[in-house]
């Protein structure tokens, strides 16, 4: 699909009507009453690791829920391994799901929980399959403890073991790095990379840019229920870096500094708002180097330089507006 070769605006998706990709959303929407949670999203996910990136409340979990068959789309089509997952439980034989909530029965041991999942999957030797899956997530030492004693990270890993116990070709993970310490995070990333290298299709959601950057070559950016961008992560990263950045500056002479910045081509716009100088620059690193020099040359003291749009939400909003 051409969309994977570069950044593809969400407004012009190629309809995936005859796709054989493991995961396909075709103009899928989901609304709750008058609230639109997901709005005409179209994408495909093939083998490898794909990150579903967006701020909290963007609709990532709703998209994963529709893919996993936990929710029906209000409109459009969602297929998992060629079939709609909604009201089609047979598809779970080939899918593993790690939900965001670590709602593991507290009275079960980790091993008991994974073995239970293996039995429900109809695995021939549930005990052996559970042991393998537990070893895969590096939790053998704590496997016979009740899950009530587990940390958040351990619960995430036992959930992953339960999702892997039947060796599914498709793995869906909702915020799998939540609660993991750096070592566990690294281990989880390595594990997911290895699983993908074996040919699996892995789709995980995250609101943390760096997690997606480190793990997924392909990324789907979701903002306010819409697909903002889909494709190669580096392309999206470049867009994010190259976009205009806004700063507010407090100085000993805001007007003089504004004149110096504009004359020196350091900014693309400057205005005085509520007694402060607001500037926009398209060259973030160049602005950082030139601002102190221009201020010194103009005899202006800088009191405060603050970025105003560095939140992830503003980055996603920028992508959507493109």
């Amino acid at each position: 699909m051409s969309g994977w070769l570069g950044v593809e605006p969400a407004a012009q998706p190629a309809p995936a009507l005859v796709s054989t990709a493991p995961i396909v959303l075709d103009r899928a929407s989901r609304w709750y009453g008058n609230v639109v949670a997901v709005n005409e999203v179209t994408f495909e996910v093939g083998p490898g690791v794909t990150g579903l990136l967006g701020p909290n409340g963007a609709g990532k979990s709703t998209i994963l829920g529709m893919i996993a068959g936990l929710l029906p789309p209000s409109a459009g089509r969602v297929t998992l391994l060629g079939e709609p997952a909604w009201r089609h439980p047979a598809v779970y034989r080939r899918v593993g799901l790690v939900p965001e909530r670590e709602s593991v029965p507290a009275w079960l041991t980790g091993r008991g929980f994974v073995r239970y999942a293996a039995r429900l999957q109809g695995v021939a030797d549930p005990g052996a399959a559970a042991a393998t899956a537990i070893a895969t997530v590096d939790l053998a030492a704590a496997a016979d403890r009740r899950t009530a004693t587990y940390s958040k990270g351990m619960k995430q890993r036992i959930l992953l073991a339960a999702a892997l116990v039947h060796d599914p070709p498709v793995l869906l993970l909702d915020e799998p790095f939540n609660g993991l310490d750096p070592r566990q995070r690294l281990h989880m990333m390595t594990l997911l990379r290895d699983l993908a290298a074996a040919g699996r299709t892995i789709l995980f959601s995250s609101h943390i840019l760096e997690e997606v950057e480190r793990l997924a070559a392909r990324v789907l950016v979701v903002h306010a229920g819409r697909l903002a961008a889909a494709g190669d992560f580096r392309e999206i990263r470049r867009l994010m870096t190259d976009r205009p950045h806004t700063f507010t500056i407090r100085s000993s002479n805001d007007r003089g500094l504004a004149a110096a910045l504009i004359a020196g081509d350091a900014v693309v716009g400057a205005e005085l708002v509520d007694g402060r100088l607001a500037v926009r620059t398209a060259d973030l690193s160049g602005f950082g180097r030139r601002l102190p020099r221009l201020a010194r040359d103009a005899g202006v003291s800088l009191y405060e330089v603050r970025p105003t749009d560095e939140s992830l939400e503003s980055v996603f909003a920028y992508l959507v507006q493109r």
Partner: protein
């Protein structure tokens, strides 16, 4: 598959505080029966057993225990989100409902039926009331299956199953169903009483205006089948809330 889910559900039901509370509740009529035996009560033992078991077990203990276990068997998982582990497995929804009923009904039947048997035998087991005690026990076991099926279905229909179920037991069955002839046919409690009257070998237990045996049996089957089908249908359409 069904056995696996049922076994885990039974463990979940029994591993919580509610099992202890229900056991204590079931012990109340047994203790009353024990006191009655110790003190000794002259009179018709069959009538004494009926007068004890109907209000304490049939009208109170049975529906309450069934309500607690029936709504917890599946409803607790749906409420706390752990049902996702069950609903994302390749299992037909009817199997899940059957497993939940098979977990909650025996636990309910054991506690309510056991309390019925012990209470009846303590009060009049040695005075000719063993037969009617067995009849009540059997009717309570049937009632346990029907009530549990009804409450499992209720827990899939609403997250307030405990309150709705309590209203059904206390208001409908406790107050309205006994008042009018027509409303009795929509009361599980009346079915249980009807089964007792139908099975009573000597005809010595004659509650006022019981349902006919045919009506009681049809009612039991109809409620169980309809509740089961509703539970399966709703579970097939159950949507798990998304995280954001």
């Amino acid at each position: 598959m069904i056995a696996t889910i049922a076994a885990v559900t039974v463990r979940a039901l029994l591993s919580r505080r509610r099992a202890v509370l229900m056991a204590l509740l079931a012990a109340v009529p047994v203790l009353v029966g024990l006191l009655a035996r110790i003190r000794g009560r002259p009179g018709d033992a069959v009538e004494q057993v009926a007068n004890m078991l109907e209000p304490s077990v049939v009208a109170t203990l049975l529906p309450l225990i069934a309500l607690v276990f029936g709504t917890a068997a599946l409803g607790a998982e749906l409420d706390d989100g752990s049902a996702i582990h069950l609903l994302t497995k390749p299992i037909a929804r009817w199997r899940i409902v059957v497993a939940k009923i098979l977990a909650a009904a025996p636990v309910t039947a054991l506690l309510a039926g056991g309390a019925t048997l012990l209470t009846g035998l303590l009060i009049g087991g040695d005075r000719g009331a063993a037969g009617v005690t067995l009849v009540y026990t059997l009717a309570v076991v049937v009632g346990a299956i029907v009530y549990v099926t009804l409450f499992v279905a209720l827990s899939v229909l609403t997250s307030r199953a405990l309150i709705v179920g309590l209203a059904y037991v206390a208001v409908w069955e406790g107050m309205l169903a006994g008042l009018f002839e027509g409303t009795k046919v929509l009361s599980v409690r009346q079915y249980v009483v009807g089964i007792v009257a139908a099975l009573d070998p000597a005809g010595s237990v004659a509650p006022s205006a019981p349902l006919s045996p045919a009506t009681a049996v049809v009612g039991v089957l109809a409620v169980a089948v309809v509740a089961f089908l509703v539970a399966v249908r709703r579970l097939e359409r159950h949507q798990l809330s998304a995280g954001d």
